[in-house]
């Protein structure tokens, strides 16, 4: 099994995914302590994503509660064959975050630069348990770094703000065709860079 990062990382990632999938199963059976454990293990990662999307802290807090409530309600719909537990959590978080963002009355128009939003320091130091997450983040960030700034920009606008290609084109003052090409090239690059890591997983 090839992976960027060490073979140990792959093993730890598999273990972590296995553990979290087991927790989700227990949540589906009505075990609230399992939800608490899952929250303790994943909420920093999830909250970080939500904050990146909605930027407003109090809104992010509400969305975080919504996400884990949804996890409680829909734990039985999670199927590990279809994706990793964290991907499932992140999808829920992204969906609800963008939902809030687009239905919110105050759009943070002044936050033009996504970079300004990106780096929120953690208020507590990351414990050893987060080493897998740290490695994962390193991989994805280096993949994003491999993109041109223009490619990265369009993908981040689509991912974090949920903009359509035409909205992105409008926002950047670029022709639609340019936006589509940048997206395609950027996504292809990401796919190629992440391929070894992705292939190692099931």
């Amino acid at each position: 099994m090839k992976a960027l990062g060490s073979p140990q990382y792959s093993r730890e990632l598999d273990t972590r995914n296995h553990d979290w999938a087991a927790l989700i199963k227990r949540v589906a059976d009505g075990d609230q302590s399992a939800l608490n454990t899952l929250y303790d293990s994943t909420s920093r990662l999830v909250f970080g994503l939500i904050l990146r999307i909605v930027t407003d802290r109090s809104v992010a807090e509400e969305v975080l509660l919504d996400v884990y409530t949804q996890v409680w309600r829909q734990a039985s719909s999670y199927d590990s064959k279809r994706g990793a537990p964290l991907a499932w959590l992140m999808t829920i978080a992204r969906t609800r975050g963008i939902d809030r963002l687009r239905s919110g009355k105050h759009e943070h128009q002044n936050k033009e630069s996504l970079d300004a939003v990106g780096e929120f320091p953690s208020s507590s130091p990351s414990p050893e348990a987060d080493s897998v997450a740290a490695e994962q983040r390193k991989l994805v960030r280096s993949a994003l770094d491999s993109l041109s700034p223009e490619q990265r920009e369009v993908i981040e606008l689509a991912y974090y703000l949920g903009l359509s290609h035409s909205e992105i084109a409008l926002r950047l003052g670029q022709p639609l065709g340019t936006i589509k090409t940048r997206t395609r090239l950027g996504m292809m690059k990401l796919r190629d860079v992440l391929r070894p890591a992705l292939e190692g997983r099931i």
């Binding site: 409530t69 719909s77 507590s124 292809m188």
Partner: protein
């Protein structure tokens, strides 16, 4: 999108579409067209989409982790306690037949607006092309995908037929558009399923269909039933492995067409089937045999 049904390798345009779809950045119309293309069985595009979806799955961890305030954990506990007191979750029972468990709705949730451009599902009123939520975020095996695609395509065709039939029926335009709006709201929701009920012994020609908004926890039901006798009424049932829960009454009009929107019960475990029986006026606590129409949840 090109007119070709399938193609062996993907051209730039198709690749763009798959990448944009995975990101949720296509317009509704383009998303529908792409899904229609996938429904035609285009493996090349499906493979592209699968890979791009995997990439999108990874992007979430790029954001720096941030510890949420400690009090949120307590708030969450309180909220879950409330959920639990509203709904008594039962231990997951083993369903003999189902490969994939049906989602267990824990409590009724208010219907949410669909995020048509974040996770792009769409069902055009005109085209009624089925959209599979699974494409955007999940991988799936080829064989089950092919079977699922066939099923969804067949369902979409049936739904299209039904909507055409509804449109062609004379009169009651506002009722029809209300019904269509309800059906479309389910088809536009992030996770939906259709349960087809077939008529049994007493009324073999009757049928019904449940449009199940899984996330919004409701059923939108259309039915074709013979008129009920004076002192009787049709009743819908959520059938689980352990119990049958009333889903309310449904009354066909003069043409035999019945329509109902029902919230999903909070304490329902795995849904195994939907059923319709004939009950005394006012309905019953438990269904009276015989069953008039039955549809198993696959």
């Amino acid at each position: 999108m090109t007119d070709r049904l399938k193609h062996d390798s993907v051209a730039n345009e198709e690749q763009e579409t798959a990448a944009l779809y995975a990101l949720g950045a296509l317009s509704q119309q383009e998303a529908r067209a792409f899904v229609a293309h996938l429904h035609e069985g285009c493996e090349a595009c499906y493979a592209e989409l699968q890979q791009f979806s995997d990439v999108v799955d990874e992007l979430g961890v790029a954001a720096a982790p941030v510890a949420p305030p400690a009090h949120l954990r307590d708030l969450l506990t309180k909220r879950i306690e409330k959920e639990k007191s509203k709904a008594r979750p039962e231990p997951r029972s083993v369903i003999p037949v189902a490969e994939k468990p049906s989602p267990i709705p824990r409590s009724p949730a208010p219907a949410r607006l669909p995020l048509s451009r974040v996770l792009p599902w769409a069902a055009a009123a005109a085209l009624l092309i089925a959209v599979m939520y699974t494409f955007t975020s999940w991988r799936s095996e080829r064989q089950s995908l092919r079977a699922a695609l066939e099923q969804e395509r067949a369902r979409a065709a049936e739904v299209a037929d039904e909507n055409v039939r509804l449109k062609e029926e004379a009169g009651q335009k506002s009722e029809l558009s209300y019904e269509l709006a309800q059906i479309n709201s389910v088809l536009n929701s992030p996770q939906w399923r259709v349960v087809q009920l077939a008529g049994l012994e007493p009324t073999p020609n009757s049928s019904a269909r449940v449009y199940w908004d899984v996330q919004g926890n409701r059923w939108v039901v259309t039915a074709d039933l013979p008129p009920a006798p004076e002192d009787k009424v049709y009743q819908l049932w959520f059938v689980t492995p352990t119990e049958k829960i009333s889903a309310g009454l449904i009354t066909p009009d003069k043409t035999g067409h019945g329509f109902a929107v029902v919230p999903f019960p909070p304490n329902a475990a795995h849904l195994a089937a939907a059923a319709i029986t004939l009950e005394p006026r006012g309905g019953s606590q438990q269904p009276t045999m015989p069953i008039y129409a039955l549809g198993k949840v696959s």
